[in-house]
């Protein structure tokens, strides 16, 4: 993210130093002074950051290979925690559910955000109101979102099923009351909540596509669909890539919405990995085992992200 912009200054001091011994001392004093000044700026934030982010991140890696419960002392057990995971039914269910959630949330949010952005990328009066409306769910507090949707998804009397029945569906789904439909209900809620955020990114991306491209396509006789397919989509590729990466990271670590909306239920039908980490680690005090699950979650996110970066590189080439 930063490598392009920062490279030049790393290289700059070197050539001027060479062949000018007398000035060297002044240089190094300057460097030392800059280092001091630089660190003085960074330090207030860095102390907090190191203590409450860097240390825990490192600790999570180490703890994953230890057996440690709230009352005992930590003990090195190698891969035992991971072996235990293989036989843990909860883990298997949570792993499946996490992928289920991500598999629904990522593509649906992407499509919804892109559609909104394209519909709202007009220079007409009142468009700002509609953009605000679309963004609004994202800043609404999670508890409010969860409770409203839970009520809307009420199987017998909720508006969602009433509308579905009006549209002619005889047996609408049980949503959060049913083990099969609870996860789709969570996915719908989260798509609704997040699409406005990614719409903002797409709107910014649409501004970067030069108007001349559309003119040229129109002169060549391209219709609206062809213009979308051959001008808009390729022009949005960098944004899409970023959106997919962000969505992936966000999806796999889903926790708060599930805790508030279904608390993993009914049964274990919406239990996800991050929630299992919370239950094992903070509620049950199995620090080692929960950290091992956390490590697995981290590696899943990392693998998917690296894979997406690779894919993006290859497509660019």
């Amino acid at each position: 993210m930063s490598h392009v912009t920062t490279q030049p200054d790393a290289a700059r001091p070197a050539p001027s130093e060479r062949g000018r011994p007398p000035r060297r001392q002044g240089r190094s004093r300057q460097v030392r002074r800059n280092t001091l000044v630089g660190w003085s700026f960074i330090l207030p934030n860095f102390v907090g950051f190191a203590l409450f982010t860097l240390v825990p991140v490192t600790a999570a890696f180490v703890l994953a290979f230890m057996e440690w419960n709230s009352f005992g002392s930590p003990e090195w057990v190698g891969l035992d925690n991971f072996r235990r995971m293989l036989g843990d039914e909860n883990f298997r269910v949570a792993l499946f559910n996490t992928f289920f959630y991500a598999g629904g949330h990522i593509p649906l949010t992407l499509v919804a955000a892109l559609t909104l952005a394209i519909v709202l990328n007009r220079k007409i009066r009142g468009v700002q109101f509609f953009r605000t409306a679309a963004f609004f769910p994202y800043i609404t507090s999670l508890v409010a979102v969860a409770v409203v949707w839970n009520m809307m998804f009420n199987p017998t009397l909720g508006p969602v099923n009433q509308i579905l029945e009006t549209l002619g569906m005889a047996n609408p789904p049980g949503w959060t009351a049913s083990t099969d439909w609870a996860m789709p209900a969570v996915i719908i809620t989260s798509v609704w909540r997040d699409m406005g955020y990614y719409m903002v990114l797409y709107l910014a991306g649409l501004q970067t596509i030069p108007e001349e491209y559309y003119e040229a396509a129109r002169v060549d006789g391209a219709n609206a669909w062809q213009r979308f397919w051959h001008v808009t989509l390729p022009g949005l590729r960098p944004v899409t890539f970023f959106v997919v990466v962000m969505l992936t990271i966000q999806s796999f670590k889903i926790l708060d919405l599930i805790v508030v909306m279904t608390d993993g239920g009914p049964g274990r039908s919406t239990l996800v990995l991050a929630q299992l980490i919370y239950r094992e680690g903070i509620r049950e005090g199995r620090f080692g085992y929960s950290s091992a699950i956390a490590l697995v979650l981290f590696f899943i996110v990392l693998t998917v992200t690296v894979f997406q970066f690779r894919l993006n590189e290859r497509r660019k080439a």
């Binding site: 930063s2 800059n34 700026f41 907090g48 982010t53 991140v57 009142g126 963004f135 507090s141 903002v200």
Partner: protein, 301 residues
């Protein structure tokens, strides 16, 4: 809507041999129709997005037994504004609001202060090791917080800070995000400006205070708004750390109210409306900075 019946006309009659005047009119008609269609599509989309809010507000003004009716009643027969009076007696809403406000303001202040300060060091002062350090910052943004919440919890427990505001403040005030957003903005301010100020004899600290801070007002506003809203809406932090009722935030208070009185539909919705209201006001006031903040952190990345 009124333009719709004409929908078929402009396409067909523009045959060769028509006078220029009718062609112009046809084009204008088509333009109008397209505009109308756009508004219709946008209105439908907006309705879909806003339905849950409409449901929330309308339910908050009903009696309990009027919330779930067949067919759905979007506008209550009688507006029960008394719900908004009653709720203050049912739960300690004032305490919850005060706690949420205290946490959000403190954390926002610390995040903006330390974040912009560090960002100056990362963008305008050159020293060895700076970029490696910044990479460490960025790398942690990619690590899901959920993966290290347990070690954080152990640390806080050992320090005896669980069930205090300290735990939330310490964990959220020094995030990498603020540094990242501010650095992004400072990079767009030309180095020559800073260089000129140095030649004028200004110290780095006064350059930061007198030049960078005033120039970066929009970015500061973005960061402040995003942090405030995030903290206000945060559920997991308070949920993990704050166990006593008198420390609860609006989110926790509302959640517990739902747990206790799950059939008090109207009152729950009233609470939901109150929990969202401060954010609505803040969002509408600073919308521009919000959107810009998201767009810059997103697209430069």
């Amino acid at each position: 809507m009124t333009a719709m019946p004409d929908a078929a006309s402009p396409a067909s009659p523009v045959a060769p041999g028509k006078t220029p005047a009718t062609a112009v009119r046809a084009r204008r008609d088509r333009h109008l129709i397209r505009k109308a269609a756009t508004y219709i599509v946008m209105t439908v989309a907006a309705l879909l997005v806003l339905v849950p809010f409409a449901w929330m507000i309308s339910s908050s003004l009903k009696r309990n037994n009027e919330v779930f009716t067949v067919p759905i009643q979007w506008i209550p027969d009688e507006f029960r504004w008394s719900n908004f009076v009653e709720i203050w007696d049912r739960i300690p809403m004032v305490t919850y609001l005060r706690n949420s406000a205290f946490l959000a303001i403190t954390i926002t202040f610390l995040q903006v202060l330390t974040g912009s300060f560090a960002a100056y060091g990362f963008s305008k002062v050159r020293f060895p090791g700076r970029d490696a350090l910044f990479v460490a910052y960025i790398a942690t943004i990619a690590v899901p917080w959920q993966a290290y919440m347990v070690p954080q919890y152990i640390m806080m427990q050992e320090a005896g800070l669980t069930n205090t505001f300290w735990s939330i403040i310490l964990l959220q005030a020094f995030g990498a995000f603020g540094v990242f957003l501010m650095r992004q903005y400072y990079m767009s301010i030309p180095d020559e400006l800073v260089e000129a100020a140095r030649i004028d004899g200004l110290s780095e600290y006064s350059i930061y205070l007198r030049i960078m801070l005033p120039l970066s007002k929009p970015a500061l506003a973005s960061l402040a708004l995003l942090t405030f809203v995030n903290t206000w809406n945060d559920y997991m932090g308070p949920f993990i750390y704050l166990t006593s009722n008198e420390l609860w935030t609006v989110q926790l208070g509302l959640r517990s109210f739902i747990g206790q009185y799950s059939a008090d539909y109207a009152m729950i919705m009233t609470g939901a409306v109150i929990s969202v209201l401060p954010i609505v006001v803040i969002f509408l006031l600073g919308q521009r900075y919000f959107i810009r903040g998201i767009a810059t952190t997103g697209l430069k990345g």
